[in-house]
Symmetry: none
DNA sequence: GATGAATGAGTCTTCATTCAT
DNA sequence: AATGAATGAAGACTCATTCAT
């Protein structure tokens, strides 16, 4: 029982706990995603996870707690995938960076449709708490977009506009397309095409000659 | 006694009933809008409406029934305000028609922010039932947009694109902007400006020289 | 407006009231008979009677009141049809009187199966109140039978027995046969045959040689 | 750890659960027997059983479920106690078998007057469901009696008669006597006497000279 | 750590009765 | 007399959470 050994044991235990915790999170994700927060019961979760009722409360303080953990998970991942446009000399083309952002976000959402559903459907209108979490996240995203637009305007890349509103527009396109991608996945084109279309729409709109003006 | 009189009486009675029903709907709208479907109790509704418990069930068969009535109300009104683009000779400029659609929709949503919140927040992720109602509505809207885009492409007005995806983008901008308008009403420009920006974004995107390509 | 006239008017009014009251009783009988006391609502009664809610309470003080009226009706009628055996000289044959009693009772019950169902099914186990009404009635009947048996024993017509128990037996046969007659009316022999069988069973039992005398 | 041990543990657990369930059944029996199905509330049951509301629904799915369980219990027990008359050579005297049936049935009913009341009072006229359960049971009993009568007739033991009606008579005597035994237990003779009287009544009726055999 | 029996606050819904018109 | 809108007490059932083993 060297110190080393103890450390190892502790690590294993922690991992075991993490494993258990993640196991529960995994099943809770399925359940919440499918039934929504209110229609999903703790019973649903422990049954699908194959654990006892008490065990659930060993890892999560409440039903709300585990839901928040999942919501945190999406938001954290998305925050990492959305990167400010780097305008420093030598940085990649700003538009390429924008497209990369779109790609990283959609890639994740398509890859984990359950989390997407939780973000776009179940966390919406749940209560003040989730509203605050979502607002904090979306406000951050909106600010990022807005600042990028302002930069772009200054650089002459973006036409002058009400940046807040246009930022909302851009956020809206992302949300709706992500929703379509996860709920009607079957009859949609491959991801790269979707990213391309989204990018083009945000850049050029739908007008054929939008150029000339 | 006269037939005339009877008609009047019947009309008054009907109005009285309608009044009561509408009174309850009015307060339920506030309650659902603020608390969401699940966190709102029938007690909340009858207390704010100042009626007895039994009275509620005189006009609505269940808590769900009154929620659906409200959801129906928004959807019905929006359906009326979204009109297909008339391309017949002598019809107004198609783009003006599009802008008018945007204006009519946003006008209503801004005018009744509680209903908007019910549509955009509370009905989302509620259950299969509301999902079906929303999907039916949004599918209709998406098809309308898609068909307009196809027409536009054929007429050379709209650049060729994946119409389904672009339609989603447009729907997304509407949703998100409506959401911003109703939840952060204070610091937003007047409605006409918002409509203009939305229209321009959808038409031309954000690119300054999107023309040239 | 003579006194005579007034009297007439009053009489008419009273009859009208009686008529109305009886109308409601008629429909309530159907409703209670079919659904039972608890599963029948005042709404069921007024709907089938085609009257307003308030009107109901003009003629009956409560749901219980109208049920009791119906129960009273059966019990009163049955009391009239069950007559003590007249043993005075010159009276008809006692056994014939017994058979006549059986006949009168079954005749009424078969003729009004709804009331029978109320008596044998719905009033049973309702509450203390109806229990008391039924007990008073059945106790009376039992006493009547018991006294007849005692008379019969004294006269050597009836074999010595525990009169209370045998009285219960006789009452039980009446109840059960009445029940069968009203719920499975279709596949049963004509009333006279049933009366005959009932009478014979009470008199001679089922034993083949008990008859030999 | 051993298989033996596990079996024991399982048995203990099962018994513990059975105990709780039976505890609730016991108190529910008292409550239903006294108040009837409709006048008894789940609150009445849990209060008298000294358990929490939720505990009730851990063992029974509904108020109706626990009532049906009790009804099932009586019917099942009675079914076991009513045995077809064995006419094979070497079997006991058919009449003795009949008397034994009567004895077994009455013994149980007198021993558990609450269940008897539920059978004879509370389950009667409750609704379609209980009507079906009772009808199935009584139909079975009636058929059994009828077949015995037919056998008896063929063997010359029973006088020819309308077997269906006479079967009803016999069932009726059982019901009524059981009712008397359980509701006016005090002033009735000992069970054997009652059985004897019932048997004699069914066999020989009340007629004095029917006895000569 | 794991279990699952027990808890009880919270909610929806029903329906007999009243009363102003 | 007749009406029927309004009332509110009562009752069944759910489910997140606890805690003794």
């Amino acid at each position: 029982m060297s110190r080393m050994g103890e450390v190892v044991v502790h690590k294993e235990l922690k991992e075991l706990k993490e494993t258990r915790r993640n196991q529960i999170l995994f099943f809770a994700k399925q359940v919440f995603s499918q039934k929504g927060y209110h229609n999903a019961s703790v019973s649903d979760i422990i049954e699908s996870a194959g654990i006892a009722r008490g065990t659930f409360y060993l890892y999560f303080t409440s039903k709300r707690d585990i839901f928040d953990s999942l919501l945190d998970e999406v938001l954290k991942e998305l925050r990492q995938r959305i990167r400010p446009i780097d305008l420093s000399p030598g940085a990649p083309d700003p538009l390429a960076q924008v497209k990369a952002n779109i790609g990283r976000v959609l890639e994740f959402l398509v890859h984990d449709p359950e989390l997407t559903k939780i973000l776009l459907h179940q966390a919406v209108g749940l209560d003040e708490r989730s509203a605050a979490m979502l607002q904090a996240f979306y406000d951050r995203v909106l600010s990022l977009i807005e600042r990028s637009l302002e930069h772009g305007i200054r650089m002459g890349l973006v036409r002058p506009c009400q940046t807040r509103i246009v930022a909302s527009c851009i956020l809206g396109t992302m949300k709706e397309v992500a929703d379509q991608l996860t709920t009607h996945r079957e009859d949609l084109p491959p991801l790269e095409i979707v990213v391309e279309e989204l990018f083009n729409f945000g850049l050029r709109g739908v007008f054929a000659r939008s150029a000339t003006s």
